[in-house]
């Protein structure tokens, strides 16, 4: 029992060392450092706010909150997948030399991006307060719950993509193209209710929709209905299951082909 515990503790230490490395490396040599993880979504919000409010005259109140509430979790997803797709290939030197659970490599990428997401939440809170709104108590349950769901969802997806990328290097290129398309078919700049009913139905099949919608419900409207979380939870579990299967099947050969 105690050995199993110490093995897990070792793995945890390794993951946190890898995450710490990524965090240090990302902004090494920059003057603004961690501010960039906040500045990036802020700049995007500024641009979209200008385009939608000033050019398209969108009528959504507090459009910047509406946008940020979806854009921040999306950024976590997109940068995890973009960065994680090549994570096995990029760490080939480790995979070929040292024995440790390979799952920890994409996990570190996803957790690294999670840290950036969590760092951006106080910024969102500041915007909420500035808009004269108050957060509700359900944020305290809702945020950890949604973070967990999204973590499972992203990790499953990243695992599958990173594993396939070991055998077909095209995958990471393909994925970055798909992600830029995915951004527009995910209700980030708009909400599903703004679309014709037929399109709404199609959108309901899109796995990230529910998660993004849940974030927006929570952060913009202080709404957290546990029933509406069932679907994203089921999707996250299914994606994780799928990712683990793909990973398990392909993992054996990693050191042979890398």
């Amino acid at each position: 029992m105690s050995t199993a515990l110490s093995v897990w503790q070792n793995h945890w230490e390794l993951v946190s060392a890898l995450v710490a490395k990524d965090l240090k490396v990302r902004y090494k040599g920059t003057m603004l450092g961690y501010l960039w993880s906040i500045l990036h979504p802020l700049a995007l919000t500024l641009i979209f706010n200008f385009v939608f409010k000033e050019i398209f005259k969108a009528s959504i109140p507090d459009f910047h909150l509406f946008l940020l509430a979806a854009l921040l979790p999306w950024t976590w997803l997109a940068s995890s997948i973009n960065g994680g797709a090549g994570s096995f290939v990029g760490n080939a030197h480790l995979i070929k030399k040292v024995r440790f659970p390979r799952l920890l490599i994409p996990l570190a990428t996803v957790l690294n991006n999670m840290v950036h997401f969590l760092l951006s939440l106080p910024v969102y809170l500041a915007f909420t307060l500035a808009a004269g709104k108050l957060p509700a108590w359900n944020w305290l349950i809702g945020i950890p719950l949604l973070v967990l769901l999204e973590l499972i969802f992203i990790l499953g997806l990243t695992l599958a993509i990173a594993s396939l990328n070991v055998y077909f290097r095209d995958v990471s290129h393909f994925v970055s193209v798909v992600l830029s398309l995915w951004f527009y078919v995910t209700p980030i700049m708009y909400s599903p209710s703004m679309l014709p009913p037929k399109v709404q139905l199609v959108l309901a099949f899109h796995p990230a929709t529910h998660l993004i919608e849940a974030w927006r419900n929570l952060l913009v409207e202080n709404r957290l209905d546990l029933e509406t979380l069932c679907l994203p939870a089921a999707i996250a579990a299914a994606v994780m299951f799928f990712g683990l299967i793909v990973f398990k099947r392909l993992e054996r050969g990693f050191a042979d082909v890398l």
Binding site: Q9, N10, E13, L14, A17, L18, A20, K21, K24, V25, K28, G29, N91, H93, L94, I95, K96, K97, V98, R99, F100, V166, Y167, F168, R169, D170, V171, F174, R252, A255, D256, V257
Partner: protein
Amino acid sequence: MSSSVGLTAITPLAGDVVIDLQAVWKRYYLRSAHNVDLKHAVLHLPSLLRERKAVEFWALKDVSLQVRRGECVGIIGHNGSGKSTLLGLIAGVLRPDRGRVEVRGQVAPLLQLGLGFHPELTGRENAVLNAVLLGLRRKQVRERLEDIIAFAELGNFIDQPVRTYSSGMHSRLAFSVAIHVDADIMLLDEVLAVGDERFRQKCLDRLQAEIRSGKTALFVSHSMDAVKRFCSRAVLLDHGDKLAEGSVDEVAMRYQRIRVV
């Protein structure tokens, strides 16, 4: 035949045998799917699967090897003879296609120095990361960090990014981290090829002390001198076959002969 090995050891790990390879085969595919693009793979899947079988390449063929605690065994052979594959199997990063590999104790691969060093991080940051990768707790790393830095003789450079290091400094730090991990089994793959003579000597002395204190080592090298100094026993690999096993001198002679051919 100097290649006779105790094939009677079908019994579980006996006494203090810490590395036990039983009739191990390892295969690679020379032109497997990872060399082709997705389009090609989709269009030619059936023929690819056929090809996979056709171009298999056996990196190790029916290799058995037992190593006891406290032994230092030299692995000799030309490039492509299967030496690194053998170490990969013992390190647990490769799996045998046939046969069985059993290893008792923590393994530290001291191979191809500076593995995983990130050029933008400082020597200190890299040392911590590397030691954790090799299996240390951060608490243990903190306790040993001063020793690691002192052994590497890096002085103030320890807080500079590794990209500013000379190749000698790089390998000094890498060696120092690996030796301080204090693993039971050390896998040494051409580790002593770099660094100046004095530091090389210091590393050799340190290794010798570790082996005397009961550590086990596998020493891969082209150079017979290092093997002769360290190892009590050697194994000669050639094209995946174990050609010889025995005293270092015997095996060295055999190596000389296949060198000429």
